[in-house]
Symmetry: C2
Subunit: 202 residues, 2 copies
Amino acid sequence: MKDEKTEDQILDAAEKVFQRKGMDGARMQEIANEAGINKAMLHYYYRSKRFLFEAVFSKAFSIIAPEINRVINEDIPLFEKIRKFTHRYIDFIQKHPYIPNFIIQELNRDTDFINALQSKKGFPDFRNFQAQVEQEVRDGKIRAIKAEQLFIHLLSLNIFPFLAAPLLKGFLKIDDKTYKDLMEDRKEEIVNIIINYIQIKE
Amino acid sequence: MKDEKTEDQILDAAEKVFQRKGMDGARMQEIANEAGINKAMLHYYYRSKRFLFEAVFSKAFSIIAPEINRVINEDIPLFEKIRKFTHRYIDFIQKHPYIPNFIIQELNRDTDFINALQSKKGFPDFRNFQAQVEQEVRDGKIRAIKAEQLFIHLLSLNIFPFLAAPLLKGFLKIDDKTYKDLMEDRKEEIVNIIINYIQIKE
DNA sequence: ACCTTTATAAACCATTTGGTTAAACTATTT
DNA sequence: AAATAGTTTAACCAAATGGTTTATAAAGGT
């Protein structure tokens, strides 16, 4: 961290501040302080708040998007894929708990942003997953379900508990430690509820 | 709307602007314009941006919290409760699509906010639901599951698709109309996946 | 050594922003 | 109708904020 180049120090600091405060709540001066660097440097390297923000956003997205994409498009059976995705995702998000909320929040704030993202490489491609689901349905390996709904189930069950962590802790009246344990249990919970749903019963 | 008192006009305008831009992104002048009213009035009636925001937030929360609470605590069998909650919630949210995101966003921005809310009347009480789940497990009506996980499943599957609507539309490459149909289908989808999960198989 | 480019910092600036004031206007009370 | 209390507006203000400028080093090339 000591020999880190200024440009990266700024990006790291901006990451923290933007994730804490969002685009509008963040202050350039606060980012400069966090980086221990003169404010003029932010403009020197990133030109404007907007550009700096986009750099941070792209980085966050480019961390999580391939993570989703990779598992989704791997060439393994659906059951296995669901288990793998869930375990990987929850492990991953425990390390970067701010990312989902950051992305969802900014995507709701600026509706056009998603269009800019879609063109970027690494944007999750759903078609592969869809084809696989349809194939396994045809092969009689799983019940007849719509790939879209299955996909939304999977993301909902995995992502929501992290988005809504403060709210859920409030509802359930539990502390951080208990909540973390609950998330750990969810790995198998989620796999079970989904597989149980798509599995053909004898 | 014409004869509406100034105070309410302001609240309505603030609602729109805060929901569009969030606490930090919203401008007092923009709210005044939206209300077609002098900016000084906002301070006259609500004293500060913070207070105005809290009025808006409380209103949103007091619309949705009882909706959740009522169904959750109704005295009906669990299966029926899950169906009722899901149908009611999705219908409700189609009418107020901005509320979940607004609440989640601000709860993540200001962690202490949840504490202030908890004391308020109408804050969803989970204990009743928990007791019911435990009872039905003991009675052998449903599989042995933790009430917390079931509760999180239920909220995740219902709320997430609205929080992440822009993202999911991007992933699935579908338009608003198709997405709305998908949400309609989800009513039964969600009921099925959950009931299928907690049901005891013969 | 000399010059050019890159980096850093301090001071500065124009605009925006939440908030205030003082005056005017409109009920309401007496 | 005079006095009082409540409501509304335009003008104003101080602080904050994103961004710029100017000066000064440091590094790299010749």
